[in-house]
């Protein structure tokens, strides 16, 4: 257990050092995300005119933040593997006695934690710029986003597995990320086929609770957690299958 904790701390340090080294890039990313949101916000307001209600703008704000978090989580492991492979450090991760999947899982988790911080900055910047102040329960928001985005970490492990063999998969990750925008509009409650897709049941729960003040039965939270656990485990299993294939083909150290 203490070894796993040491690994988690090492990953937290690495993510922090990376962000510190590339601070300008980090700030530029937040700036771009903010500008995109403002462009969307004013676009919707201008085109929609008086038909656009305050609630739909709130929905857009929360939806955008959720989508940003989701996009980031979905691409995390795949892009980490591509970057590590390009840097020539991927095989060293595979020399960890704790297992590369654990190293990459904690890397994804620590990236998520740091991402939450930036998303919070983005959320407050957006609220200040639009003048629409949501009553955001941050601990609830973080807990629920973490719970639901874990399913996307699973998807990112699937993509990561593919990237072990095919190396560049950013385009596939990009397509899936944009596909999420459409999926997030699907109804998930009461339970239907769409509820079993990754992330969107959790995303709808967060959005509707914060924006509309909806409440859900306790079992629904359990369902969201089970959905995340399923996709996370499936992602890890698929990753291991690709990993074995990459080791068979000696693709681990190549880019």
């Amino acid at each position: 257990m203490s070894k796993t904790l040491n690994l988690a701390l090492a990953e937290a340090k690495l993510v922090f050092w990376s962000m510190k080294r590339y601070m300008l890039d980090t700030l530029a990313a937040i700036g771009i995300m903010f500008l995109i949101f403002m462009g969307m916000f004013w676009g919707v307001k201008t085109i929609g005119g008086s038909g656009v209600t305050g609630e739909s703008l709130d929905d857009m704000l929360v939806g955008y933040v959720l989508w940003m978090s989701a996009m980031f989580c979905m691409q995390s492991t795949g892009s980490e593997i591509t970057t590590e492979s390009q840097r020539g450090t991927l095989e060293q991760l595979y020399l960890s006695p704790l297992g590369a999947h654990r190293v990459l899982f904690f890397r994804a988790l620590m990236n998520m934690v740091f991402n939450f911080f930036f998303v919070t900055v983005l959320l407050y910047l957006s609220m200040a710029a639009t003048g629409r102040w949501l009553s955001v329960n941050l601990p609830f928001l973080y807990a629920m986003v973490l719970l639901s985005t874990l399913s996307l970490v699973g998807i990112s492990f699937m993509l990561g597995g593919i990237s072990l063999i095919h190396k560049r998969i950013q385009a596939l990750g990009g397509i899936l990320s944009f596909g999420l925008i459409g999926l997030m509009l699907l109804p998930t409650y009461p339970m239907n086929a769409c509820s079993f897709l990754p992330f969107i049941a959790g995303a709808a729960l967060v959005r509707n609770t914060i924006v509309s003040g909806d409440s859900y039965p306790l079992w629904w939270y359990g369902f969201v957690a089970a959905n995340s656990a399923f996709y996370l485990l499936a992602g890890l299993m698929i990753f291991k299958v690709f990993e074995r294939r990459a080791m068979k083909l000696n693709k681990m150290g190549q880019y």
């Binding site: 040491n6 450090t89 060293q92 080791m247 000696n250």
Partner: protein, 316 residues
């Protein structure tokens, strides 16, 4: 403790039609440095990666410290460090100290223990003054030293170094060989090294294994290898140009190369020594200088793999 640190038995690895490693078997004893020599594509890296479990081999078995390397991979990685060829092995945007802290944590070492070990490694590898500088600015040698320090941060018993001297200058290469020898002599580490640098292998290794086309063609101590090939090379400078008869006669005794009045001869057997002296005497060309050429490992290596016949230079 098992008899051998590493025991490779009948290892086979193929990629489609290509056999990278073909039924090789060898052992590495505890507390020794074994060098693997071989030209590109001879299977050195495949062997190292198979031991580390980075490649899944097709046939054979590998045990490390008496444990099956496939079934007990994670357990063995706790006691194994490696620097791989063609990879950076470290994060160049971080400092050596940050790299050491990260790799210690990723191997499950606590922060306190890691700091203590990092300080020792930074000092012993002469990286102390640059410990907090970004590695991107470093020379290839300093980067390599840092990669080796990171491989040692969890205090492994076994270290696998794939081409550790690639791109290093003479001074750092010398420092590294002394440091590695010290690790073996004082801390009882076991090291497996692949390298193209014969000088490095010769000075640091206890035994050498030569590979060619996925097979082991020689497996001996450096001393016995040198003894085997000793005394067969001669450099002769004549007073006059060599006659056709002399060249023809000497060519029958072994590999001969000529450059003006200077002849270099590799006798096929030391039994031909008398014939060589007689041929030189009979030719009446006069001898200005005659010396036995000491073989270095490079000559021996070329001789073993059979690529150097007649076209490698002799050191005098």
């Amino acid at each position: 403790m098992s008899e051998h640190c590493i025991n490779v038995n009948g290892l086979v690895k193929t990629y489609g039609d290509l056999t990278a490693v073909n039924r090789i078997s060898f052992q590495v004893n505890h507390g020794e440095i074994l060098g693997i020599l071989g030209p590109n594509g001879s299977g050195k890296t495949t062997t190292i990666k198979s031991i580390l479990g980075l490649i899944r081999f097709d046939e054979g078995s590998i045990s490390v410290h008496g444990l099956d390397a496939v079934r007990n991979r994670r357990k063995l990685l706790e006691r194994t460090g490696a620097v791989l060829e063609g990879a950076r092995n470290t994060y160049w945007y971080l400092s050596p100290r940050e790299n050491l802290a990260y790799f210690a944590g990723s191997r499950g070492v606590s922060s306190g223990e890691a700091t203590e070990r990092a300080d020792k490694l930074l000092k012993s590898l002469d990286l102390w003054d640059v410990a907090d500088k970004e590695m991107r600015q470093f020379s290839a040698g300093m980067k390599q030293k840092c990669a080796i320090a990171c491989a040692f941060i969890h205090d492994p018993d076994l270290l696998l170094l794939d081409e550790p001297t690639l791109g290093l200058d003479v001074a750092i290469s010398r420092q590294l060989r002394a440091w590695l020898r010290e690790m073996v002599n004082e801390s009882g580490k076991t090291i497996l090294i692949t390298s193209h640098n014969m000088d490095f292998i010769e000075s640091v290794c206890d035994r050498v294994l030569v590979m060619r086309k996925g097979e082991i063609v020689s497996h001996e101590t450096v001393a016995s290898l040198k003894k085997k090939f000793a005394g067969k090379y001669f450099s002769i400078t004549l007073k006059n140009s060599p006659t056709d008869a002399l060249i023809s006669h000497l060519s029958e005794l072994g590999g001969l190369s000529t450059e003006g009045n200077r002849l270099t001869l590799e006798l096929a057997s030391l039994d031909h020594l008398g014939s060589m002296v007689k041929a030189l005497d009979d030719s009446r060309c006069g001898i200005e200088d005659f010396r036995t050429v000491e073989n270095d490992l490079e000559d021996i290596f070329l001789n073993i793999i059979g690529d150097g016949e007649g076209n490698h230079e002799q050191n005098s």
